[in-house]
Structure formats: C-alpha cells, structure tokens
C-alpha cells in the first residue's frame, strides 16, 4: 500500500520534470542551451503566486472546468499498473474507464476553450474535438488488442500479466499495438507532429489555443493536468509495452521504471526534433495509421495467432 501511494506521489512529482526534460533534450539536440530540468516546477510556483484573471465573458464553467480537467487525471493515476513487484495496485479498472476519464478531462478543456468567447479558444476546441474523435477508436481498438494478449481487461492486471508472461507468441500484434499506442501518446498529449506545444501561432496551436485566456492558478492547474496526462500515457506505455524489470528488487525496479519513462520522453523529443508539425487536415493520416495498426494488431492476433 505504501509503495502504491509512493508511486503515485512519485509520478505526480516527476510529471513537470518529464515535460521539461523533453524540452531540454530538444534544445540540446538543436544546439541550444538546454532549459533547466526544474523549469516546470518554477513555472508552477510562479503561477501559484499570481492573481487569477477571469474573462468578463466567461461563465461558471471557467471557474470549475480547470478542476474538472485535472481531477479525472489525478484519479487515473490511482489506476495505473504497479511499478514494483508486490506493490498494491487497482487490478480491476479497465482501459475503457481510463480512456473515459481522460476524455472527460478533454471535454471540460474544450468547454473551457469555448467559454471565453475568443475566436482562438473556439478554434482550439474545434481542432481538439476533431483529433479526439479520431483518437477514440484507435485507443479502444488498441486497448482491446492489448487486453487480448495480456488476458485481462484490467489495466493494472494487464501490466502485471505482461511482465510475468511476455507475449512472445504474439510479437507481431504486440508490436502493432505498441506503434498505435505511441501515436496516440503523441496525439493525446499534443506533441509534434499533431500539435506544437511551444508556439502560440494561430495556425499551429491546438492545446494552447484553448487555454489562451487562462491565467494564474488556473493555468497552473491546466499545465499540471497536461504533464500528468503525459505521465499517465508514458507509464502506461512503459508498463504495457515495455513490460520487464518488475521482478527485480523494489528500488531497482523503480529506477528501471524511471529510466523507461525518460527513455520514452527522449524518444518523443527526438521525434519532435526530426519531424515537422502536420497540417490539421494531415493529422487524420497519422491517426489513420494508428487505427490501421490497431486493427492489424487485432487481426494478426486472431488470424495468425502472432
């Protein structure tokens, strides 16, 4: 139980760090002076001290949505697979619930975008809605396929099962599912090539556009939500698609887990540096790839048993 709570706290704590890490790696790769790894915490602390500026056009939604953006994600943290063997985990919550919780957070984020009556917020929400609609089927299919391989629909249990019995017989479909899930990770967290989290350029932004009118503590909450979301996806990827190391002793296993998370972050950073942001109407192509891989994964599992 203690391990369980510790893991959650650890994940919460490293959430800003991971995003800063990606940024730093990117800058380093671009021969820039890397940003400090603690920039995320600094930002958070800075925002916490600011006053909150609320738009006069905005309604009650602006006052409650930030909390509702964050809270489903926080709840999700409790349902992730264990990091070390023997630790407590919530075995039964399945991936649909997790997907649903993440979508709930996105739902309120989109409402938040529309609430301030600015053209940018609406634009961001519209694009986010478009992307989210296409992410949903890929996500569900991937989850389906992974749960087939792990033999359990519960995410926590699936992580444990995969660590115990690596699905060597189904490597092909496992790989397809991993590719699909990685694309989803990029799409859901608004990374390049789907969204560029660093610019505030009208043509490119999605996530930033929605929160253009959010300031102060609210912005801190939203930013935290974004980083928690990334951690959730990263740790899901680590537990489900890199399922090894659980059997080691607790500190080693935890360290290995952290390494995996940073490796994923590094990969994302590497990808971001090497690709350009896609035009909005090219995004479906990418998500289409995710959907096709998810299908392929299921079909190879069924037909070839591979």
């Amino acid at each position: 139980m203690i391990m369980y709570l510790l893991t959650i706290i650890l994940l919460l704590l490293i959430a800003p760090l991971l995003l800063s890490f990606i940024k730093a790696v990117k800058m380093w790769l671009l021969y820039k002076k890397p940003v400090s790894l603690f920039q995320g915490y600094r930002n958070f602390a800075k925002l916490m001290h600011k006053e909150t500026l609320i738009s006069q056009e905005a309604s009650q939604i602006t006052r409650i949505a930030p909390f509702l953006v964050l809270s489903p994600l926080l709840v999700t943290l409790f349902f992730l697979p264990p990091v070390v063997a023997g630790a407590f985990y919530v075995s039964f919550v399945d991936a649909f619930t997790i997907t649903g919780l993440i979508t709930l957070s996105t739902f309120f984020l989109m409402l938040l975008g529309l609430d301030s009556a600015s053209a940018f917020g609406g634009m961001g929400s519209s694009r986010e809605a478009f992307i989210a609609a296409l992410v949903e089927p890929a996500m569900v299919l991937t989850v389906f396929s992974v749960s087939m391989m792990s033999g359990d629909l519960g995410v926590g249990q699936a992580g444990v099962n995969l660590a115990a019995h690596f699905p060597e017989a189904h490597m092909a479909s496992f790989l397809f599912a991993a590719i699909s899930f990685f694309i989803l990770l990029l799409a859901e967290n608004g990374r390049i090539p789907v969204d560029n989290p660093e610019t505030h350029l009208e043509l490119t932004m999605v996530h930033e556009a929605m929160i253009l009118d959010i300031t102060g503590v609210y912005l801190a909450i939203i930013e935290t939500a974004a980083s928690v979301k990334f951690v959730i996806f990263a740790s899901l990827f680590a537990s489900l698609f890199l399922p090894f190391g659980l059997q080691f002793a607790a500190p080693v296993a935890a360290a290995l887990f952290l390494v995996k998370l940073f490796a994923i972050a590094a990969t994302v950073a590497f990808l971001e540096v090497n690709t350009a942001k896609l035009r909005l109407f090219k995004v479906p192509n990418l998500l289409g790839i995710a959907i096709v891989f998810a299908f392929l994964s299921l079909i190879t599992f069924y037909v070839l048993g591979a």
């Binding site: 006053e51 909150t52 500026l53 609320i54 738009s55 006069q56 056009e57 905005a58 309604s59 009650q60 909390f67 964050l70 809270s71 489903p72 709840v75 409790f78 039964f92 399945d94 649909f96 619930t97 649903g100 919780l101 979508t103 709930l104 996105t106 739902f107 989109m110 409402l111 975008g113 529309l114 609430d115 301030s116 009556a117 600015s118 053209a119 940018f120 609406g122 634009m123 929400s125 519209s126 694009r127 809605a129 478009f130 989210a132 609609a133 949903e136 089927p137 996500m139 569900v140 389906f144 359990d152 629909l153 519960g154 009208e202 503590v217 909450i221 109407f281 959907i291 299908f295 037909v303």
Partner: protein
C-alpha cells in the same frame, strides 16, 4: 387483453420515469401553446397509448394501441402549424410510421393465422411452423426499426422531432423510440426464438451504421432539436449493437454473454430515455426563451439560464458516455460484451466484430465533439443574437421537469445495480440465463463484465473519487485565497464580440471537411472583395447545408419514381375519355386469353402468340396513330 409480465412492467417503468417529469415540463410549457385542448387531449392519449402498447397481450390490442400512438404523436407534431415545414414533417412522419405498420401488420397476420386475438405464446408455435422465418424477422425489424429510427429508416426523425413542441419531442425521442425497442424484445423473444446467427449480425450491422450515421449528421446540424434527433438515431444504433450482440451470442450458445449484452441494451434504452428527455427539455427551454432553433443564434445562455445550463451539461456528459455517468456505464457494458467476442469460435465473425467496435468508438468520439459544440455554442461565450441576450430562466414548472428528469439520470447513475437487477429479471422471465450474480459478484461496488477475465468498473467509487478529488482541489484553491480580477478576454489584441466567436459551423468545420465525401455539403460563400484582392474583403457570408445522403438517394428517388409513375398512369387513364369501347374490348380480349391459357392449357408458344395479338390490338385500337 393485457398482460403484466416483467418485460412489460420494466417498460412501464421506463414510460413512467420519462413521462412524469414531462408532465411538469409540459404543464409549464402550456402557455406557449395555442391549441391547448387539442394538445392536452393528444398528449395524454399519447402517454396512455404507449402504456397500452407495452401492456398489450394480443395482436389486436397491440396494433390498436400502436396505431393510436402513431396517430396522437402525429397530431402532436401538428400542434403548431405556422410553418410549412411542420406540415411536411408531420406528413413524412405519418407515412414512415405507417410504412412500418404495414410490415407489423403482415407479421401479425402471418403469425396469428388470421386470429388476431391470439396470445404471444400461441404465436410462437405458428411462427415455428412457418416456412420462411427470416421473412418474419424482416417484417418485425422493418416494422419496429422504422419507428425506432434505425438506418435506413431514420430520415423522419430530424424532421419530426424539431417540429413537435419540446415536451413532445422529449417524449417521442425519449420514450416512444423505446417502445419500438420493446417491440423488438417482445417479438424476437416471445415469437421468433431461436434466432439464426445471420439475424444478429444484421441487427449489429444496422446498429453500427445507425450510430455512425446518426452522429455524423448530428455534427452537421445547426438546428438544436434536429441535432438531438440525429443523436437519437445514434443511440438507437448503440442499443441495437447491444441487442445484436446478444442475438449473436445466443445463437452461438454463449448464454451468459448474451444476457449481458441484452441487459446492456436495456440499460442503454433507459439511459437514453433519461438524458435525451432532459436534453430535449433543455433545448425546449432555450427555444422557449429565444424563439429560434438555430444554434448559431444562441450563446452565453448559461449566465441567464443556469438551471437549464447545468442540467443540460449533466445530460451532455451522460450522452457522450463519459465516466462516471450512466451513459458511460451502459456503453461500457456494450463494449465489454463486444470484447466477449473473443470467446467465439467463428473466426470470420471474430474479425468482423472489431469493425463494430470501431464504429461504436468512433461514434463516441464524434459524440463528444458534437456535444461540446452543442453545449459550448448554446450556453457559453457571448450571446450571438439579441434573442439570446434577452433570454431568462424558464418558469418553475419547466425547471421542475428538468430537475426531476435529471434526478432520473442521477438515479440511473447511483442505483445501477438496482436497475440491472430489474433487467436481469426481464431476461429471466424471457427464459434466458440470469446473470445478476455474475455482474455483481461481490456487492454493489464493482460492475463486472461476464466475459472470462472481463473488465470491471466501479461506478460509485469512480463518482466518489472524482467528486472527492475535485472538492479537494476546490478546497485547496479556496484556502489559497487567490485574488481574482475580472477583465475582458484577451484576443491577441482584437476586441471580442459576438461576431468574432467561433460559430457552430466553424466548430464542426474540420470534421465536416474530413467527412466531405459523405456529406457532400451544399456550400454558399459570398464575399465582397476590395479592389480585386483575394484576401481583402469587407463583407463575407458563408453558409453550408448538408442534405443526408440516404435522403438524397433513397427517399428522393422513391418520390421521383412515384411522380413519374403517376404521370404515366394519368396519361394512360385519359384514353378512357375517348377510347373507352376500345379499352373494354382489349380488356375482354386479354381476360379471355388469360383464362384460355392459364385456366385451360398452358404453352409458351400460345402465350407468346396471344401477347403479340394483344400488343397489336392495343396499339391499333387504343393508342392509334400519332397525330
């Protein structure tokens, strides 16, 4: 004449739960209606007839109440007839429901041997002896699905529902469509059991198509009630997916999974009743205040109509199947039952089911986009017209109606195990396996899927966790004592105004563009450019209309064919003004010929000869020479 078995009683509960809040709402809505006596007479008869349909124990009673239900709902659509559209919609609705009635009639006539006062059990044995059970299945599905609004018989919904007064649309969409689902349950279980595998697959395909088509056209709608009507198509599709899965499992002898899928379908029927009623009521309140159905003319209503806005939000979250709402639970159950397909032996079917999963997931994704649009454009931002500016909260009765139905939504969320135990009893009474103990093996906290190593969801824990975390965050925010300042929206240096906001058309733009091949939208774009510059203009107007593909291809062409036929028949008929003797002459000749050949002795050669003679005779005597 009447029967009170579990299935009937559960649907009575559905009607009552839907109707009682509606009474309040309708009462509050009444000052808005001109023909009050007409409206109330039909309204109450409508509710009673639905109860009658559900309780009917023989074909005659069933058909009688069914027909009364169609008649009264038709008259209710015609409550306000200022617009020509209403009259058109009512006519179309009436035609469609009778299209279905024709098939129901045929079905009943076949399975009752003409004795319409036969009970349903007696029909089973007659149906079992009938040589073409699939024909019966087609009749039943066409009959009920045209009422339920499944593809391709769904076209009437986006016309009829918007034109009816809002309490009536709430009842029609929330409750009446479920009566059709009741029909599916009643007659597929009582009369047509057992089912071949193909039937279930057909229902599954119809369900998947309906859900996708419904949500796609909902996205392109600007009329808020038409949008909701399209969502009804989607939700009926989801119910049918559950229903179809149940049928498939049953014919593959996976009884437990089958019961689970049917329970999911029933549960979704209840959920859809609750939130769709609430949504229509909310839309009705908005409409009542702003006097327009055009979503582009709303905006900012949350400030003036908080009760409407928050109940609408609840329903929106529920209909988009977000946890921990009831909508999520039923959709989760349907997903889980589809995941149960891994237990099946049939590989090709196993491969096909992911497509249904894909359809359902896609639907869920698009539904979110759609309701963000509906909610955001209607209630958030700045008012987009002066009508919206002067709106205020509706009267007490209407609010009471909305609050009551949201209580129903919440009760479905909180008392899920209780409701499921009802549905389980229904399945038990219909002779299927009861699975309540498998769904809730350890108390009411965890809802288990019945597949091997199926998923689990704990609605109450989720709800409590979400509430708790949010409360904690809010509490933290309060204790932090953050200073707040109100200022106008920063919009990159521009002033925000109602005209600079994102419109519903714009919001759905990316999706409309992506599905352009399906929508084939009819776009109108006018701009007044300055000095021939392409990008500089003073004034621009963009409008887009989507006419559903099914309507364009299926319905319009049927209309055209009827027109064409009637034109030629009319032309032919005018021969009888001048050539009547010749007509009778040819008629006599052909009747005698046919008697000679069909009643006496048949041979192809003589048939050919006689046909030639007839053609020549018709040409010479009736048509004559061209002048």
């Amino acid at each position: 004449m009447f029967q009170f078995d579990t299935l009937s009683l559960v649907f009575i509960a559905l009607i009552v739960l839907g109707a009682i809040p509606n009474f309040f709402y309708s009462w509050g809505y009444l000052p808005h209606i001109e023909r009050k006596a007409h409206y109330q007479l039909h309204y109450f008869t409508f509710v009673l007839s639905m109860i009658g349909v559900v309780l009917a124990a023989n074909a005659l009673t069933f058909l009688f109440f069914w027909e009364i239900m169609s008649l009264t709902s038709w008259q209710l659509i015609l409550t306000e007839t200022k617009e020509h559209k209403t009259i058109h919609a009512a006519r179309f609705y009436f035609l469609m429901t009778h299209f279905g009635f024709v098939f129901l009639l045929l079905f009943f006539l076949i399975v009752t041997d003409g004795n319409l006062s036969l009970g349903f059990e007696a029909m089973h044995s007659i149906a079992a002896r009938f040589a073409y059970p699939t024909l019966l299945f087609f009749f039943v599905s066409l009959g009920f699905l045209s009422k339920a609004g499944a593809v391709p018989l769904h076209v009437w919904l986006p016309y009829a529902h918007p034109q009816a007064p809002s309490p009536v649309s709430a009842l029609m969409s929330g409750v009446m469509l479920k009566i059709a689902i009741y029909g599916m349950f009643r007659f597929l279980f009582d009369v047509l059991y057992p089912w071949p595998l193909e039937w279930g697959i057909l229902i599954l395909v119809i369900g998947s198509l309906s859900s996708l088509v419904g949500v796609l056209y909902a996205l392109s709608e600007h009329d808020i009630k038409a949008l909701l009507a399209n969502h009804s198509i989607e939700n009926i599709g989801i119910i049918l997916i559950g229903f179809g899965m149940g049928m498939i499992f049953d014919s593959m002898n996976l009884k437990v999974l089958s019961s689970f899928a049917f329970i999911a379908a029933l549960f979704h029927a209840f959920n859809h009743m609750s939130f769709k009623s609430l949504l229509f009521m909310g839309a009705g309140s908005v409409l009542h205040q702003t006097h327009t159905k055009n979503i582009e003319k709303y905006g900012g209503l949350i400030k003036t109509m908080p009760v409407t806005a928050f109940t609408f939000l609840l329903a929106s979250i529920s209909i988009t199947a977000l946890p921990p709402t009831n909508g999520f639970l039923s959709e989760w159950m349907i997903f889980q039952s589809m995941l149960g397909s891994s237990h099946m032996d049939d590989t090709s079917l196993k491969l096909a089911i992911p497509f249904a999963i894909f359809a359902l997931a896609m639907t869920a994704g698009l539904a979110i986009a759609c309701f963000v649009k509906a909610y955001g454009i209607t209630f958030l931002g700045l008012h987009r017209s002066s009508n919206a500016k002067h709106a205020h909260e509706v009267n007490f009765l209407m609010r009471a109606g909305m609050i009551l139905i949201s209580l129903v939504v919440i009760s479905l969320m909180l008392f899920t195990p209780y409701y499921i135990s009802w549905f389980d009893k229904v399945l038990g009474s219909l002779g299927h396996t009861t699975v309540y103990t498998k769904i809730f093996p350890d108390g009411i906290w965890h809802l288990h899927s019945v597949g091997i190593r199926g998923g689990v969801v704990s609605p109450l824990i989720l709800l409590l966790a979400l509430l708790g975390v949010t409360m904690l965050l809010l509490f933290g925010y309060r204790t932090l004592g953050v200073k707040e300042r109100i200022h106008r929206t920063w919009s990159c240096g521009y002033r925000t105004s109602p005209r600079t906001q994102y419109s519903a058309t714009g919001f759905a733009g990316p999706i409309r563009r992506f599905f352009g091949w399906l929508y084939k939208p009819d776009e109108h774009f006018h701009k007044t450019s300055i000095a021939g510059h392409k990008s500089k203009f003073t004034d621009a107007h963009y409008e887009v209309h989507v006419k559903p593909l099914f309507e364009k291809t299926l319905y319009d062409s049927v209309g055209k064919a009827a027109n064409f036929m009637s034109y030629w028949v009319y032309r032919l008929s005018h021969f009888e003004q001048t050539r009547y003797a010749a007509m009778i002459f040819n008629l006599m000749l052909s009747v005698l010929f046919s008697y000679r050949i069909f009643a006496h002795e048949f041979s192809w050669a003589t048939l050919l000869l006689e046909a030639t003679v007839m053609i020549i005779s018709v040409k010479v005597l009736i048509i004559g020479d061209k002048k």
